[in-house]
Symmetry: C2
Subunit: 340 residues, 2 copies
DNA sequence: CGAAGATCGTGAATCGTTTCAAGCTACGCT
DNA sequence: AGCGTAGCTTGAAACGATTCACGATCTTCG
């Protein structure tokens, strides 16, 4: 069945195709009577315009927009893992900024797999997205160049790859903040808990903490590597922490999920938090405040991260040829509650 | 800059456009030497084929696929709120099923707004998605019909609207499960905590619980309505629970987030859980097991929900005209831990 | 040696829409 | 009456890829 086309509508309404097109795109150019007639025909035939043909004709600009006025664009946000509340907030921030500017956002996950990431990017390309905001997994400079050649602006989040706009949080500073706080409340045997495979940001947090501790004359902290950055693994870590000798009096976790699990299990095993062991998390997820022991943590400007990334992407498009890649670094912030 | 077209590639390789097209779509029809020449030209010019033109010509079938063989399709998942871990799991399930079948999934959020939902759906239409899996906010039968007319298969999740495939969890049964359990451990003054605006599923949970309690001769439970289904609001609810008279000895929360916040604040205010007040949540999010008091809750087959929805959508496409809408109802399951 | 296949390549037609120069009316003005 | 103008409408020319009926060569074999 040949999709009902603008031509049939025209015939039915007794006008030319040009006029139908005008009704669709610049209704003000068409006399009211004609307009109504055409609209009626559209309704009767259940006509929907063929977006492929539209795009073919109009070129890569202008995605849709009921009235051909605004260059409404589509942006894709590619995150590693949707289930991570962290990612959700970033996406939210990006979406807010994009929607505010009249653009659309959709998201995809790479599941930490370079192949899936590639597929997602390919998809964005096929769908003629205007840009991609991505937490890169396997994407390198070559891939970025290819995307750009296809007309996508690319903004990296939370990872550093040269030759592209990027926005990330200064995790080293975050690690320093956490370690300094533990030091500040008199802790001296500080351990770090993380998960494998350890994402770059966690490595940076660890480095920041290590640096601060070394500067304070304490030497690098022992590191506990769990199987994942999850509460379940946090619980597992509890035993290991208590088995260490000397037993730590402070623990810095690579994220809040680990910290929450850790605290619960420590408590259950009889250790008091923070009296015996102070715990600092990282992320400040919503549950942090409602944890068994309200969690002291390092708050990341997650929404801001998404927001800034979106702004960069839009700027890249706006500026076109004259665009210079920019790197935005956001500062984390210590939120002191009760666990440390 | 006019996008480099197949024509330029043809000129560069010294062949006709038809041949280039053949190299792209049916390489076996082209002599090896020519094929290589064309491929080289493509490489040099950085040519990428214009998907709009392709689709215009080939009709609504065949979405892409490097070699025109597989009908790889695009599905959109529209959820109310991405930050909700519940949604994340559903999306995951759907994505798994879709990817396993060689399709692509992307998602969009409606933010509980009918307008945003409409926009998201419009977007899926524009992108020629094959189907939409949606937790409807403002979508009614008319909207569904329109989508289907545009060639999208529509599957509803977690809500009931007639005239479409749908999959949902039997929340009434879930409510019954929770109430029966509280009854079973000897509780008699049972309250229900929920959030406004109250989503349909929560209403059903409440109804299920109410029915069970009434049948046990206890009368409808008092209902506490908080501002949201969040841990923060759960904490707020704690005071209200303790202020009630008679003080409840059992509380059923509309979701785990509320329950976790509630437990933490109850504990802090001196009430023992479950000794003084037993608490049952709903959802079984990952953190439920790691809460201050490991949470007894009703586990929803979240992944399965997404998975089933995806299967239904694919079936609808496969079956075409002969398709009959189906409703799949999944049963929730009680997970007993320590809070009740 | 010539005809019948194979094997490759060609180029015009086509998909449905937008765009735009040009045409047509009706009207107001001198 | 003649002319300019504003307001609508027209129809054909793109856009870039795919398709398909035909040529053009080259083999093969009676």
């Amino acid at each position: 069945m040949p999709q009902t086309s603008i031509r049939e509508v025209a015939r039915r309404a007794g006008v030319s195709v040009g006029t139908v097109s005008n009704v669709l795109n610049r209704p003000d150019l068409v006399a009211e009577a004609t307009r109504d007639r055409v609209r009626a025909a559209i309704e009767e035939l259940g006509f929907v315009r063929n977006e492929s043909a539209r795009r073919l004709r109009t070129g890569p600009d202008r995605t849709a927009g009921e009235f051909g006025d605004e260059p409404r664009r589509l942006f894709g946000v590619v995150v590693e893992d949707l289930a991570n509340p962290y990612a959700a907030d970033v996406v939210r921030g990006a979406e807010e900024a994009l929607n505010a500017a009249g653009h659309d956002a959709l998201w995809l996950s790479s599941d930490h797999s370079a192949a899936k990431e590639a597929r997602s990017l390919e998809l964005l390309d096929e769908q003629h997205a205007a840009g991609a905001l991505i937490v890169p997994v396997g994407l390198g400079p070559a891939g970025i160049r290819r995307l750009r050649a296809a007309g996508l602006s690319v903004v990296l989040m939370d990872r550093d790859v040269s030759d592209a706009c990027a926005v990330h949080v200064d995790h080293v500073a975050g690690g320093e903040l956490a370690a300094a706080h533990l030091l500040g409340i008199g802790r001296e045997r500080i351990a770090f808990v993380t998960g494998a495979p350890e994402p770059q940001p966690c490595v940076e947090r660890r480095d920041g903490a290590a640096r601060t501790l070394v500067e304070a004359g304490l030497g690098k902290p022992p590191v506990l590597i769990q199987d994942a950055l999850s509460p379940t693994e946090g619980r597992r870590a509890a035993r290991r922490v208590l088995d260490m000798s000397p037993t730590p009096d402070g623990v810095f976790c690579a994220n809040d999920l680990l910290a929450i699990g850790l605290i619960n299990e420590l408590t259950r095993l009889g250790a008091r938090v923070p009296a015996d062991i102070a715990v600092v998390g990282y992320d400040d997820i919503e549950l942090a405040a409602s944890a068994a022991v309200p969690l002291t943590t390092v708050k990341q400007p997650r929404r801001a991260l998404g927001w800034e990334a979106a702004e960069l992407a839009m700027a890249e498009i706006r500026e076109g040829k004259s665009h210079q890649h920019r790197q935005v670094v956001l500062a984390p912030e210590l939120v002191v509650r009760e666990s440390a």
